[in-house]
Symmetry: D3
Amino acid sequence: MEILVVNPNTTASMTARIGAAARDAAAPGTRILAVNPAMGPASIEGYYDEALAVPGLLEEITRREREAARAGTPLAGTVIACFDDVGLDAARCVARGPVVGICEAAMQTASLLGGSFGVVTTLQRSVPALERLAQRYGMAGRCRVRAAEVPVLALEDPTSGALERLRAEIARSLDEDGAESIVLGCAGMADLARALSQEFGVPVVDGVSAAVKLVEGLAALGLRTSKRGGYAHPLPKAYAGMLAGFAPV
Amino acid sequence: MEILVVNPNTTASMTARIGAAARDAAAPGTRILAVNPAMGPASIEGYYDEALAVPGLLEEITRREREAARAGTPLAGTVIACFDDVGLDAARCVARGPVVGICEAAMQTASLLGGSFGVVTTLQRSVPALERLAQRYGMAGRCRVRAAEVPVLALEDPTSGALERLRAEIARSLDEDGAESIVLGCAGMADLARALSQEFGVPVVDGVSAAVKLVEGLAALGLRTSKRGGYAHPLPKAYAGMLAGFAPV
Amino acid sequence: MEILVVNPNTTASMTARIGAAARDAAAPGTRILAVNPAMGPASIEGYYDEALAVPGLLEEITRREREAARAGTPLAGTVIACFDDVGLDAARCVARGPVVGICEAAMQTASLLGGSFGVVTTLQRSVPALERLAQRYGMAGRCRVRAAEVPVLALEDPTSGALERLRAEIARSLDEDGAESIVLGCAGMADLARALSQEFGVPVVDGVSAAVKLVEGLAALGLRTSKRGGYAHPLPKAYAGMLAGFAPV
Amino acid sequence: MEILVVNPNTTASMTARIGAAARDAAAPGTRILAVNPAMGPASIEGYYDEALAVPGLLEEITRREREAARAGTPLAGTVIACFDDVGLDAARCVARGPVVGICEAAMQTASLLGGSFGVVTTLQRSVPALERLAQRYGMAGRCRVRAAEVPVLALEDPTSGALERLRAEIARSLDEDGAESIVLGCAGMADLARALSQEFGVPVVDGVSAAVKLVEGLAALGLRTSKRGGYAHPLPKAYAGMLAGFAPV
Amino acid sequence: MEILVVNPNTTASMTARIGAAARDAAAPGTRILAVNPAMGPASIEGYYDEALAVPGLLEEITRREREAARAGTPLAGTVIACFDDVGLDAARCVARGPVVGICEAAMQTASLLGGSFGVVTTLQRSVPALERLAQRYGMAGRCRVRAAEVPVLALEDPTSGALERLRAEIARSLDEDGAESIVLGCAGMADLARALSQEFGVPVVDGVSAAVKLVEGLAALGLRTSKRGGYAHPLPKAYAGMLAGFAPV
Amino acid sequence: MEILVVNPNTTASMTARIGAAARDAAAPGTRILAVNPAMGPASIEGYYDEALAVPGLLEEITRREREAARAGTPLAGTVIACFDDVGLDAARCVARGPVVGICEAAMQTASLLGGSFGVVTTLQRSVPALERLAQRYGMAGRCRVRAAEVPVLALEDPTSGALERLRAEIARSLDEDGAESIVLGCAGMADLARALSQEFGVPVVDGVSAAVKLVEGLAALGLRTSKRGGYAHPLPKAYAGMLAGFAPV
């Protein structure tokens, strides 16, 4: 099967690292198609970047699904590889296969491994959005979100001190909050999970890997988004201006 | 003061009706600037339409604020006139003045008038999104959302039977759910509140009017969105492609 | 329009300061009638004072509404100017116009300006009552209540050190709790909001001003308390003894 | 030991029936002092009656405690025998011994006997207040409140049809809501519990009896209200007017 | 009446101390039958011990109820004297009389004495189980659970330093968490409540005593577990192997 | 990899059907070891059966893990194939690999496919236990549990009418509760998911398949239960009597 992994920002080096993490996680028969939109923000740090990342994300999903279907190899499902689960609801309305966000994937996975968990993300400005996701996913009583005050793209720079700040916050999560496991709160941290797990002696969950496994599972069971209720296919209607091409048909 | 009221869909006739309702509600000294984006969906019915309405909405807010500031008459604040509170978080990050969504405005207002209330919206597919907003606003235990199965634009057509279906659902909300007041769950219903209130003998709250009053209040008190935390101004960064013009500076 | 602002304690100097804050907030066409009961506690610090403040409050509301109606200038609505929202439910049962408490007004207002907020009140003994209000208003997950350990009437004495203790607690709310804005948890702090907002660079919400704006808004829209359900007019019945005059008719 | 049972309304015949139910429930060594205030409403039906019942209730508790202490036989504790738990918080601030409301007593007791329970009260206007109590006591997810539309004092009149309406609502609670036991939602129903339990084959809990047993238990263990925090003794201060006699010393 | 108090671990010295605490709490006419199973763990420290304590507990309840019934002196009810409320649901399915766990008893009792309370238990590994019970009993918003890091059986050894660690954690609960009263989170602490209450000047609740009083109350009122729904008597069926004797008939 | 699937009841025919469903779901490289305990109840219908199923379940897990480890082919993880998630916490304390219950697996899976879902289980007496699991897993606001009143083992008898009753309840879940997908609430329904999904046109989730995929995913990522906190390995101690063999070492 082939799984689409969309990094909703436009930074290709980050897409490459996300793709590598996804491939590491994928089962032998799974191919990973890691992409990013041609339009939108270079990184997603807060609600505004989030909102403007969605059109590119949706276009990417629609186009890749159409191409794969034409090629006779329909996509098995989609991973949205931004920890804000950007555009998840809209994507579920239009995608043929199941769609999983890396925040929901990571939180669900952590909830199978211990009673409570800590989420360590990049910037304080992202914390409210993640707390709201935790509430939406029924996890608000089980986790506390902390920020390491590391800009997203600093994770790619070994001289930025980002890893040290991340490790300090993991330590506080375990010691002060009583977390039993850790969730890495940014797609850009995907490659760090294994080493941090060994260092701290607790499960450390990366959402990209977790989401790939969930999509593999859903696809193998033939499960797709319900088209009854909130995720029904969009009604056909006119869209105007620059976004006219997005009009549902 | 001048308040920007943005209808985030592109249907000008609906913008006109929303503008009229806003003007009806406005205080003597308040001017209403009712606009809609040049790009995006003709109506908002579900998560997909929601997501694609946001860029146009944000562009409209940014542009109108800039124009007003240049003219020396800065906007007092903004109302987002779609009951899904489309783009509310992103708008708060960039707008100078306070931003209020009509769903939050209507729910807050209803909560001041009675113990529990019913929300009557257009289509079943919109119910999950409104239930999630009710949870986010702390109102989930106080309201039940019902759909009249009326397409948004049918509200403009007197022969569509839309009003009858809406009235039937209000009656069920009062009789079966024990609602003490009613919230109209679509900006396109703004002009119906007064007549329905008289007919049913309970407060019927329209979000457009409610939001105009809240923005007037915030502006008069000099209160604006906190720039500490989740609504901090977006960090400057590159945006690519069709959306390059949205890049924060 | 004329708005009744009732300080439910009997300290006239505090009523004067509350009235001044209300007038500062009021729109050009709004008159403020600031009063306090002739009977009851000199300040409200805990559940016992709260309970005994209610009869005086209700008498004041009933009498002022009757007088205004007789004079042909019915009151537009009522603000209860004690942060415990003393007697709010009972007042809604008997008042003709809408009734708003300053705690609910301040919390609603703060929720429009940021994701989470801190409440800073006077005494630790008042904290449980405010936490319960936060739960009732659906705000428990968004705020933390702190006490500055300042007696209510000490706020009137510039030599009491009250302001310093209040400022220290605001600082802790921002730094330790991650609050994005601040709510002043006592009617006696109404005149401090603006200066504290400038000092700390975040919105600081005073409930008296917030409630005046909400009542102005409700009144302008013709919205009054629902008489269906919990706020129905009291059933006529005999009241005995000292309280016989309160019997509903 | 002697337990004070206060019916907070002024109807002596109802006090007599409450006293009888309390005596039925009391242990051999327990004396019941069943009283009602000299001032206040003849029955409690809604928030307004509630609020005006409190001064008489508090006066009764304070006076009876003082008399008993003078007589060298201090009261063991107090039951507030109105299902709205009227004045419970204020009473805890001033009473020497523990204070238990019959709503909290009945809900706690029912929660020991089954997973979910139904509450059947008198009038629809009382339902919102009881739902709020259920939330406060952590029972909102376990119960549903129904009204039999029976005025409180009709329970004393065998020709009123009140019992039939009550039984019909119990049946609906079991059949439609899946209740596993029943709570009688009015002190005036205290004498009906046993017969209804036999008729319906499920536990039927009366709050007066339940509260008497809880106070007996607390008193026997030497447990009293904590004086740390919200229930600290009221601070001494002046009270004005008709309520001057209530001033804490 | 006779109340069965089952210590679900197999340590007879702890059973003796629990029995003594129960007898101290019991009313003059109440006999306490304090027992422990012949099979299962010597102490209960975590989920695994919990699960393996249940068969012995159930056997003890069934056997003691049968013996008492045969002797013509049926048991009035049962206390499960482990703070994890081990086997409570299963016991309610088979016991004739009411069954109360000491955690639910202590939490209910504490909730009658103050607004919030602290729970101090033995080991960190038991904290998640107690937090889950607090959520189940509707008390999650009112308490915080702390561990003194004291093994259960160390409570029997005066040289272990256990008491000092317990007192330190009580102090933190009061000072840092704002607890208004304290719940002792282990049956082995039953004899410490009175002295700790005097030392700290707040109510300190022991679950064994609290549960004895609740069972006395339920029994006196003739209230037993509802047999409608989740606590219906087990359906007759075959049980295999070592546990064949547990098969319901 | 090899996954242990434990049916915690002793009915071998049901184990066979569960094993078949697990094998259908398993990836090419996954072997399924489907077993049931030698001791305990023939079916699990309510809390009592649940509790007595746990020792056999734990023995099976411990023995199978030990055997596999000795054979040099350690188990990848364990599925507990009873919808009550019987013994899940205890199993996590002792198992080497991850452990997943079929209720949590099914609910998590359903939450990825739609906004709300219906759970259809066997008997009304099992509903409270499943509602409590839904609350524990953060899903209480998203699902409603219904019982088809079908005994567990009747699912194996095509003449029992069980399937018809199950289908009727699914229809009610979709029509009356607005469910967007369906969860089958019993391991014995595992083979029905695909056909019911086609019939009703919505995703129908079987927990056995869902749990197999989750364990495959966790194992592939090297994730195991956290040993910090509630799932720490049991402390070594004596166990007495018939259960002596269960003592942790």
